[in-house]
Symmetry: C2
Subunit: 236 residues, 2 copies
């Protein structure tokens, strides 16, 4: 089988820097982790916070620390650094090849969408961001990797899309229609969701918005080639 | 304009772990860096070495350290850790938005291919791997970002492709024909080069092989959306 991971990111309208940070790192015992943080407020301050949290997490994961412990450490480090005055949401999505599981770690009020084929579940138990309280713990969901699995994680740019005009984005309904349209790639999922959010915001995103999709497909890759593609638009 | 970066990686035939490590990281002052290391020998030992070098470099880049200084520090750290007995090749490719330049850092005997439109130059001045000598310095090439630019970087799996049968892979000739075929994406370039190498090795790569391509295209991305896609084949 093959795991596909896609990320699509857009900045808040007229903002120079996204306050969201997303990084992917190889796990020392096999597999990958993708780490996403959204720093409180927007612009450079928010970017500092989200980078701080993501770097803390990836440096710990790279040493073999488990996801839950890495999330707790990042929360404690931000709490200590900013005296509990600054928060960030944090999500970690890991393909752990030592256990052959998918590990979903969540310190984010925004839900995570988890689908098996076209059957979508919301992981929406109450969850707090990191950095505000001592001893903040993430919610963790661990599942055996299986084909047909789709996980979608996003920052609150998706939750607030359309809010300028009192509209609401139903991410689960959107995902349902994308999945029913056939066999979308991970990138088709993130692009469709982000595009829908930007449309609800009439082309001027109300917030930094990042969407991650992970799919487990039955595809057999010739020669087991791993691939990564990044595209970075540059303003003039 | 848009910067496209693609990576394609294959393992040595019948090897469980690739000794090559490639990671992408956001630069704190804007832009991206992609860091590639190939650890001496193969399998788990080589993986340890290449991870060690890449992690050292990305943690320094994340703090705003310049590429050349990060490469020197990684060399010194490996030299200290392994008493000069273990080497790794190292390449860093950075899109630095604070200077609007492309920075190519090389501690690798394998050349780097640099093309402007279809005109290919080889960066092949003698360069040593990191970790064996005190004060190892990288070769650095810094160029203003411009559309039509293509850079291709690879580990020695490409250099040695075909060697089992006394054949030689001419990476620059391959790149020339790919570029002349039209307007390839970065992923088309890395996939073609890797595929060609695996074919020369008759489907059984003689070494871990990683290829990175970076292209600067005139494409204008709608809403300045950033994208990343990763695919990870999983054996049964």
């Amino acid at each position: 089988m093959e795991v596909q991971i896609a990320v699509s990111k857009a900045k808040k309208y007229a903002s120079s820097t996204s306050g969201d940070t997303v990084e992917v790192i190889e796990r020392p015992n096999g597999g990958l982790s993708i780490v996403m943080a959204d720093g409180q407020s927007s612009g450079r301050g928010a970017k500092w916070v989200s980078s701080f949290v993501v770097r803390k997490v990836i440096s710990l994961l790279a040493e073999g620390v488990r996801d839950g412990a890495a999330a707790r450490a990042a929360s404690d480090a931000l709490f200590t650094e900013k005296a509990g005055k600054v928060s960030a949401t944090l999500n970690i999505l890991s393909v752990d090849m030592s256990t052959r599981t998918l590990v979903i770690t969540r310190n984010n009020p925004a839900p995570v969408l988890l689908a098996l084929d076209e059957d979508i579940k919301l992981l929406d138990k109450s969850s707090v961001p990191v950095g505000i309280y001592r001893d903040t713990r993430p919610l963790i969901t661990e599942l055996p990797l299986q084909t047909g699995m789709t996980v979608v994680v996003f920052t609150d740019g998706i939750v607030h899309a359309g809010s300028r005009d009192g509209r609401v984005m139903e991410a689960d309904t959107c995902l349902q229609s994308i999945l029913e349209d056939g066999d979308p790639t991970a990138q088709e999922i993130t692009d469709s969701l982000l595009e829908h959010a930007i449309k609800l915001d009439q082309g001027r995103p109300v917030d930094d918005t990042s969407v991650i999709a992970l799919r487990v497909t039955p595809r057999i890759s010739e020669n087991m080639v791993r691939r990564m593609v990044v595209s970075l638009p540059i303003g003039l």
